[in-house]
Amino acid sequence: MNNNSLWSDALYRLSRNRAAMFGGFILILLIFCAALAPWIAPYSYSYQDLNLGASPPSGEHLLGTDILGRDLLSRILYGARISLLVGFVATGVALVIGVSWGIIAGYMGGRVDSIMMRIVDVLYGLPFIIFIILLMVIFGRNLWLLFGAIGAVEWLTMARIVRGQVIGLKNQEFVLAAQAMGVSNFSMFRRHLLPNILGPIAVYATLTIPQVMLLEGFLSFLGLGIQPPMSSWGTLIKDGVESMEEYSWLLIYPGITFTITLFALNFFGDGLRDALDPKTSDN
């Protein structure tokens, strides 16, 4: 079976999965909205209409305005940029660390492997959320630190998955042939091992994004994540909670947006997993 048919088979299976396609559609829509926010948002995220204050949804402001008279729809659209950015960048960080760690551990084997995986085991057992909070407190609430800190936490499972895959591959003929030809370790990783484990990596990356977004939302909700005037969906929900007694739409619309996005990501990730690895789907 060559590489092309594996991916086109998977694509076919994915296209048959309605929940996953729907998730994918929502995601593409969101990414477009986030990318084009400055052009499609009806107002700027910081524009205040002080005469309005908090006003319920109306023709002029489709989702209403917040207590400072800012258009909620525009703030949700701009918030999408931050939330999705954190989701993708932090997952990217986790991906780079986890994949390199897993490939090296799995391919080297022996002592290197057992030390590296023991480190992963130990890290698994620690309260990482607390370390993220600690880092945010000590070094200030900075967006890049947030990416790094979340990424540095979420790579552990990826390392385990990749290691397992590499161990399964490393005694196969094509790896032995490459070894016999004297291929360097680096090109072994990049040319021979990595392309063969792209499937599981893609699946797990898709499922990591919602976790990362949840973590960002959690931190922002506590006031330890994204800082004003920037806003993510987490900070919008936090603001919404503070005024939900009188102005419930400020909580409900950002909450719905966040939840739908997480649904879409989870459906899409599950569908991708079933498509790339039909064995694991039990239905």
């Binding site: 959320i129 909700f221 929900i237």
Partner: protein, 307 residues
């Protein structure tokens, strides 16, 4: 069994030592001292304060000092609440957090195991789809949204339950416990469904049925013991998640527990409090992971007999 237990404990000790050391030096990296926040104090006062809290010693001396106090269970004074020690604050907040976590786990286990086992037994029917759809909601609606929504519906619109507090008004423990428990109920439902499905197809279940046991006995006595192993292994890591959840839930419902103290300490830059609670949380999580691993090992007859 016992050898695994001791090996794991011996592994846990250096880990906790490393956590304590790393956290200690991380906090030393933080810009600014603990006393130069709100109002400027005179140099003499600052000097006396530093002396009183032993902050004029070298980092290394402070470290040795802190670690030896730590061994005696003394986590030092709080920088923000003069006269109160970190140990004292932990012992005040812990029972509340434990109670909250206990109710949450109880709700999660009752709801999760029941609906998961039911879904597995009635696979691909209505009784499978509905609980699993609800579980998906539980996974996708974060705690920090679920809590406020429950407050909005039951506390503000229907006015049937108190919106905040802990143990002051009747029923004020319901919403926090439900908020914290619901997400775990969802995970547990999915895990127990998966575990049960795997076990129900195995030979020993067919044997049990062939012996003429009632379906109820087959499920309760034979299938659940194996099928729920994933749930038991999940409970250890879930404690870590519960802790993070308690930060949110205690903040939303204004519960005076350890989670809220921690978040406040993070805001106030109460460094000794952050340091102490981090070490304490780590120790607790390492301990509960150990416990749930051992329970899972013990439940699995293969590993129980071989060791």
């Amino acid at each position: 069994m016992l050898s695994i237990f001791f090996r794991r404990i011996f592994l846990a000790i250096p880990v906790l030592f490393a956590v304590a050391s790393i956290t200690f030096f991380l906090i030393k990296l933080a810009p600014g001292g603990p006393f130069d926040a709100d109002k400027a104090v005179s140099p003499q006062v600052l000097k006396n304060l530093n002396e009183a809290y032993n902050l004029d010693a070298s980092n290394w001396e402070q470290y040795v000092d802190y670690m030896s106090n730590l061994l005696r269970g003394d986590l030092g004074p709080s920088f923000r609440f003069p006269g109160r020690s970190v140990t004292e604050m932990i012992t005040t907040g812990l029972p509340v957090t434990f109670e909250l976590a206990f109710y949450a786990i109880l709700i999660a286990l009752l709801m999760g195991v029941f609906s998961g086992v039911l879904a597995a037994l009635k696979r691909n029917t209505f009784l499978d789809f509905i609980p699993m759809a609800i579980a998906m909601i539980g996974i996708c609606v974060p705690t920090f949204l679920m809590g406020p929504l429950l407050v909005l519906v039951f506390g503000i619109n229907l006015e049937v339950l108190p919106v905040s507090g802990w143990g002051q008004l009747p029923g004020d423990k319901i919403l926090p416990s439900l908020t914290l428990g619901f997400a775990y109920a969802a995970y547990i439902a999915r895990l127990s469904r998966g575990g049960m499905l795997e076990v129900l197809n195995q030979d020993f279940i067919r044997t049990a049925r062939a012996k003429g046991l009632t379906e109820r006995m087959v499920v309760i006595k034979h299938a659940m013991q194996g099928g729920l192993i994933p749930v038991v292994s999940f409970l250890g890591p879930a404690i870590a998640g519960l802790l993070a959840g308690s930060f949110v839930v205690e903040t939303i419902f204004q519960i005076p527990g350890l989670g809220r103290f921690y978040v406040e300490a993070a805001f106030n830059r109460d460094y000794t409090m952050i340091l102490g609670t981090t070490i304490f949380f780590s120790a607790m999580i390492v301990f509960f992971n150990l416990l749930s691993d051992l329970a899972a090992l013990w439940l699995n007859p293969r590993s129980r007999d071989s060791s």
